[in-house]
């Protein structure tokens, strides 16, 4: 049972990483790493939406905030592994690449793909986030107290 949980955690991490990847980036890294294997669509890429939820007062009762666009697809490799993708936006090519990577991460190619696709994606996202955080930090107010005038 514990193995199943860990496997899900790892899969959740890479699927989430692929969903956040900028347009075309995961596909470019995949194509540099390997020739795409043959696969069959179980569900060809399709565009839809999902309702984003939130909570009143950030922690209270849920409410519906609005929708976001979403692309999903499912494919199977000739060796039987099934890959899914659910990614933000209207990006069929990116969804296809993400589903293929998801399937391949369940094969012997996993280690190679982690090094060639997932790690670079993670590094890029970490750097981009850090740059934004550093710009925000530069706008943090440093207060200094003037002489108070009561006396």
């Amino acid at each position: 049972m514990k193995d199943g949980f860990d496997a899900n955690t790892a899969r959740k991490a890479w699927m989430s990483l692929l969903a956040r990847a900028p347009e075309g980036r995961a596909a470019a890294l995949l194509d540099t790493a390997m020739v795409r294997p043959a696969f069959t669509w179980l569900r060809a890429p399709e565009i839809g939406g999902t309702m984003v939820g939130a909570r009143a007062g950030a922690t209270g009762a849920p409410f519906n905030l609005g929708e976001m666009t979403l692309t999903r697809c499912t494919l199977t490799l000739e060796t039987g592994e099934i890959g899914h993708a659910y990614i933000q936006g209207r990006r069929k090519a990116d969804a296809a690449a993400a589903a293929l990577i998801d399937a391949l991460m369940q094969t012997d190619a996993a280690e190679m793909l982690r090094a060639a696709v997932l790690d670079p994606l993670q590094d890029e996202q970490t750097r981009a986030k850090a740059a934004r955080a550093a710009k925000a930090a530069a706008t943090k107010v440093d207060f200094f107290t003037m002489v108070r005038g009561e006396d």
């Binding site: 939820g53 519906n64 936006g89 930090a137 530069a138």
Partner: protein
Amino acid sequence: MYVAVKGGEQAIENAHAWLAEERRGDTEIAELSIAQIREQLSLAVNRVMAEGSLYDPDLAALAIKQARGDLIEAIFLIRAYRTTLPRFGASEPVDTGEMACDRRISATFKDLPGGQVLGPTFDYTHRLLDFKLAADGEVPEAPMRDADLGDVPHVTEFLNREGLIEEAPYDDTPPPDLTREPLEMPAERALRLQALTRADEGFTLGLAYSTQRGYARNHAFVGELRIGAVPVEMEIPELGFAIEIGEITLTECETVNQFKGSKTEPAQFTRGYGLVFGQTERKAISMALVDRALRWEELGEDNVGAPAQDAEFVLYHADNIQATGFLEHIKLPHYVDFQSELELVRKLRREAGVDQVQEAAE
């Protein structure tokens, strides 16, 4: 009597062709790309996403281009598009405590964990036209500071520790959905928040301002305003667990409002809540003020008859697509309706003898 009239096809076709030409403007001037609108008119894009109730910056930018910059028309296009999308599910409620904050300020606490982070704000600018923007120019890169903001907890958590502010207790009641069921009164808070987050910014601002001026005054402070990216998680049925499906930018405003207490409750602060797609600060603050005003009944306050306390008035008039649809339809042909009105007025005048009086005067 209903009279079918045909005609105007050619005029309509030609009007639309001219519209396309006017939309493009002078062809000597470079055409705007969707990416330019998305990147450089991003606050317009954010408003269209918020009121269109669909988070997709590229689609919002396209809608703005198609609508020639008329944001309500652009919102209309987005609302129409979203009805064509199959719904793949619903996300987990986003956790704004996890937000990667671009901006985070509090008007109530100077020294708070995480600090006062101004972010890319118009505040403290002098509101003077910057003619440098009229000339081409490189923008210097914004300064960075190697400083981890650390945890950025919600401000209300500090007040909660002392019991000075009402709690927003965790709850998992499935919320009603305005896009599935028509709005009906009485509207519970979850439904009001959904309606307010996509409500017209101008209308919401005007109502919020009215509460500040004394129509259901509730003494709001901005306890906290934060803008930044939050991950969106959704349960994937095929997998049986949730994954992140992307990241969206949100603006959240929590107001801290005076509350004198009631027979059952001691004096404490109460809260209003605003949460809106994109960097949409004015709207989020307005939403929080209106949310708070609409909570008069559950907080045991008096109904002073103020517009912002009247849920039916607020919610039935806040949607600019409903409003503009009904407003603008009166410019479309009403020839037959008007014909009957005309006959009625003539008849009433005959009965009142108006025409005879006029004749006598001549």
